[in-house]
């Protein structure tokens, strides 16, 4: 173990990460099953292709979809960041975290553009 006292004081940032991790988990737990229910109703034949597209097109659906993607990205980003902090102990840590942040943001922007550009 380390002998030197590495106490750098408190960063006052741990709470927010923990909070958003949990909040995004709740949003995911509520919204993610919705997508499977939607798929299920299509497979059961309760919803045909046009009804499905209508639903995906609707404002409420786009809003929920947006929420889902944002929650997914927040959750995945914090999760990966924490894992990197756990196991990577060199300067590479910051590089990796920054890389993930950029990739996640690009993915999110692309997906949101898809959601809101859909159908017009």
């Amino acid at each position: 173990m380390v002998n030197k006292n590495h106490d750098l004081g408190t960063a006052h940032s741990g709470f927010n990460e923990w909070y958003w991790q949990r909040l995004s988990a709740v949003v995911l737990a509520v919204l993610l099953p919705g997508t499977f229910i939607l798929l299920w109703t299509v497979y059961l034949g309760d919803l045909n292709q046009f009804e499905l597209l209508d639903w995906i097109d609707s404002f409420v659906s786009r809003l929920l979809h947006t929420l889902l993607i944002v929650a997914l990205i927040v959750h995945a980003y914090i999760g990966l960041k924490v894992m990197i902090e756990d196991y990577v102990h060199t300067g590479l840590r910051i590089v990796l975290i920054a890389g993930i942040l950029v990739m996640m943001s690009l993915f999110g922007i692309w997906w949101l553009a898809l959601i809101w550009a859909w159908g017009g």
Partner: protein, 236 residues
């Protein structure tokens, strides 16, 4: 015929150099009440005086003989020989620097304990007699005051293995919570301030190794969650 106990004990002397090794010993079984510490004492007193380990009270109150016993952390003095698979593998607490044989360097561990200021802090003028606590307020400290700072929990925590330089670890956090809960302490806000950190506190991922390792049956995970909940209440 006396039964014998087989042990395999970690040996290392940095001053002599060389590699750590496991040494085999055989010790007579002295009866149902025999604890692992009795076997180590037998080795030291009758077989091999060079074997080095810490112990003091011999009854689970001083916290000095935390060891890794067959892969599980515990106190040698209260671990019955009878339940252990043989040969009994005895190693120092994991992830700690070995000073010699089973003795590890606890400096950093106690440094972290000191960081949370484990003493009563008050600002109001001292009352004429003692600061009183109702039986209910006192009961809040159950499950925390029993901790003997043996380090069995902290050295079994993966989060502490990987980030022990900054993560305070279950033992220290259990004590941090003990002072947060203490009705007489008036520095609760500052204590919470000092813990709100992604490494000091939130590195705990609720793996619960700590709870399983604690020889006193305490639950540091619960205490850590209580600190997190208190921080949540403060913010929302």
């Amino acid at each position: 015929m006396t039964e014998t106990i087989k042990l395999s004990v970690f040996r290392y002397d940095p001053e002599k150099g060389g590699k750590p090794s496991m040494q085999a010993y055989e010790v007579p079984f002295s009866g149902a009440g025999m604890k692992l510490l009795d076997a180590l004492n037998y080795i030291k007193w009758h077989l091999d005086g060079t074997l080095t380990y810490r112990r003091s009270c011999g009854e689970g109150v001083c916290g000095s003989d935390g060891l890794n016993i067959n892969g599980v952390n515990g106190l040698a003095c209260i671990t019955p020989i009878a339940g252990l698979k043989q040969p009994i593998h005895v190693r120092p607490l994991p992830s700690m620097e070995v000073i010699r044989d089973l003795v590890v360097d606890m400096d950093h561990f106690f440094d972290q304990y000191r960081q949370i200021k484990p003493w009563l802090q008050t600002y109001s003028p001292a009352p004429e007699h003692e600061r009183l606590q109702s039986p209910e307020e006192r009961a809040e400290l159950d499950g925390a005051y029993e901790c003997i700072m043996c380090g069995c929990c902290t050295t079994s925590c993966p989060s502490w293995w990987w980030n022990g330089d900054r993560f305070l670890g279950p033992a220290t956090l259990l004590q941090a919570d003990r002072w947060i809960k203490d009705s007489r302490d008036e520095a609760t806000g500052e204590r919470l301030d000092q813990l709100e950190d992604a490494f000091k506190l939130y590195r705990c991922h609720q793996i619960m190794n700590c709870m399983e390792a604690c020889p006193k049956g305490l639950n540091p995970t619960k205490a850590i969650n209580h600190i997190k909940r208190t921080l949540l209440n403060r913010k929302s």
